[in-house]
Amino acid sequence: MKGRAFALTGWVAVGFLLLAAPALPAEKRLFVVQGETLVYSYDHNQIYGEKVAFEALGYKVTASYFKVDIPSRQALAYGSVTLAKDAEKLEADELVLSLEGMIGTLIRYGPTIETTPLDAGAAGTEGRIEGGPTTAPGGVFDGINLDKIKKSFLSFSARTISLTESYEVLGEGVTLYLEGLESMGFKRFRLSDGVGPRRNGFAINRIWYNKTQGLIGRASYSIEKTNKVASLTQLNYEERSFLKENYGIERQVDLLTSTTLTFNETLRMGFTGNYNSSSQWNVQTWIGKTWSPAFSTQFDFSYNKPVGFRGEAWLGLQSQLSAGKWGNLAVQGRYELRNQAVAGLNYGASFLNHFSLNLQSYYSRVKIGDSRDFAEIFTGGLNLSYSSRLFNLGTDYFLNYDLFGGQVLSQPQLRIGLNPIVFYGGLLSVNLNNIALYSQIGREGLAERSFSDNAVLSLAIQPVELFKDLRLNLNLALEQFVEREGRNFTTGGIVFNAVRTIREGISVEAYYSLSSRRRTRGWLIEGTTGQDLSLVARAMVGEAVNSWVSVSYDAKNAQLRHSFADLSFKVVRNWSLHAILNYDFFLKKLNNIDLYIVREAGRLQFRLIWRSLSRQFLVEFVPR
């Protein structure tokens, strides 16, 4: 118990320190900006500044205003912009920065709008001029202002903000605001996650604690060299030993690594490895060669060590051939050093405009547990289909041959479907489908045969406007199922739907459904009939209300059955209340209530949830 307590103590302390510390000191910054006013919205991943100074493209830049939209990777400095480098001094009304590749454009508003790419020579080696914006950028910056950032669920003000190459936002002299209210101050803080994974180096991605999972830590190490090397190693750690109600393992470590080396456009090699602290691990290395745009091959070797069983070493080869109008062929084979093997072939082609053919064949010879016996199975499938404007026809054949058990399953199938036929200018639509299936199981000279046929006829009437605000809709379906054993079913159903719009956004809908299922066996006819009448009231008023309530009535037994409600109201700012209720009239009991208080916060959603069934209260941050 003492050990657990110390583990908890240590991890919480380490977690806090890592959160508060500048977690990623080594990565190159795209810019470091200081300003009299400097704020960042976590919800929208945007920066706004006033009276700022920063360095970009080799210049020292000052401006009255500064906006950064990280999702679109663009920045704008405007209002008396000055750029200084040695003796050179430039002035403009705006400096537009495309952060991807750091491309700069200066804009001056004189008698005309004058746009000048920031000269690469003047900017030294850091700047480029290719493809810079030629006109003033529009909407992306219009939406960034102090008010919007203040209204964020999570926002920060800082003395200095820097943006890394991985688009992580780091701050110094930081104050955290929750709903615009000051909450806590930090000397240094990592304000956001990056847009993508870090390009190079070590990162603490997540340290989190919750009551059911315990303490969770995620870290990663990545190396990326464009078109040469891409490597990502992730370490996941979960500590549950100190949890009051922990019935599983005390801790778990997962290590996942994946590296891809690109030698040239046609030759690539990779390595993946996974380790889990429950003593299971696997590694795989592969090499892929593209011989031509139509033909490629991959060779791989893998070793897999499951829990409680011996490890397996597999050698594999896969090839793909795209032969244009002659179809596509894929072949794969794998061999395990203890004489296990799997092989597969897949061929697909389309011809004569309306026909398509697909052929699959697989063979496997794998060990049964740790015994000396092998399960040996051959499966094959053939599919030929024809489709036209009026109907579609398909035939399938499936074969499963258990070579070890000596059992053969053979199953041909015929499908025919009439494409929907419309009458009376689209008012009425009719559809007919039929599937006939035959199967034979053979074993030790004995054969078991069966067949079935299923036909479905459906008829739909398009919604009809009866009066100004009343719309009717009707659907009918009839199904006949026949099989060799004589269990024949006839099923029919009708769904009638009427919608009355009371005023814009408010409507009442009525559904009536009648279904009947009859089974005939010789002279005996048995079956069931069901009826359901439902009323639904909907209200959708702008963004403020989006709710519906339904009541279901059993017309056959003349009694109310149940009621569902899904109520959603916008309360204030971006907070909304959402409730889901279910009442059972038969049991006279409120079966379930789910209550949600939701804060929409840009790229995340904050939820407070209460669930009556599980009596759970949950707090969630859900990324959008």
């Binding site: 118990m1 003492k2 657990r4 307590a5 110390f6 908890l8 103590t9 919480v12 302390a13 977690g15 806090f16 320190l17 508060a20 510390a21 009299e36 006013t37 400097l38 704020v39 006033e50 009276k51 009255s64 205003y65 405007y78 209002g79 008396s80 009304d93 705006e94 508003y109 004189g110 008698p111 005309t112 709008i113 003033a136 529009g138 219009d142 202002n145 102090l146 008010d147 203040k150 926002s155 003000s157 104050t175 605001y177 615009g180 000051e182 806590m184 101050g185 930090f186 000397k187 240094r188 100190f242 009051k244």
Partner: protein, 162 residues
């Protein structure tokens, strides 16, 4: 009990460890002076209480509309400031410049100042497309916004109200 102590010890340790990094000086959300709260286009302006308000906000106009109103609200004005509008047509040529207009000459401490400029449209005088309007405060570009003019739009500089 041991668990409670452990949690307590963890919190103390964490607080001690992070003490160098965390401070508790409470600050208000930054509210800089002369900050542009809104800059938009509308068809009308309405008077209400002490302030004028925009009505019929839009970014799409036709020559037949007769005019485009550029409406601005500036927050935390504590001294006299100079506002100036510049209008550029779709060919990026300056078609209207209000020059500096002084606001809050009595240097009152105002929470919000609202002002607007009007670009009259006369059919047949200028081409349609994306027009750009700029707001300068004390000579510095403080806001920029574009609107779409469809059909023939024209301009005749007239006296503007701010």
């Amino acid at each position: 009990m041991t668990r409670t102590r452990a949690v307590g010890a963890a919190l103390v340790l964490a607080a001690a460890g992070a003490a160098a990094c965390i401070s508790f000086d409470i600050r208000r959300f930054p509210e800089p002076e002369d900050s542009v709260a809104s800059f938009l286009f509308c068809r009308e302006v309405e008077s209400g209480d002490d302030l004028i308000r925009p009505a019929g906000e839009t970014s799409e106009f036709a020559a037949a509309d007769g005019r485009v109103i550029s409406f601005a609200s500036v927050r935390n004005v504590v001294k006299s400031i100079r506002l100036r509008w510049k209008w550029y047509d779709a060919a990026k040529t300056l078609v209207r410049d209000t020059g500096d207009v002084e606001v809050n000459t009595e240097a009152k401490n105002l929470e919000v100042v609202t002002a607007y400029d009007v670009l009259p449209l006369e059919p047949g005088k200028s081409g349609p497309g994306s027009w750009t309007t700029l707001l300068f405060i004390d000579g510095r570009l403080a806001a920029r916004k574009s609107f779409i003019l469809s059909g023939d739009g024209g301009h005749t500089p007239r006296a503007s109200g701010t």
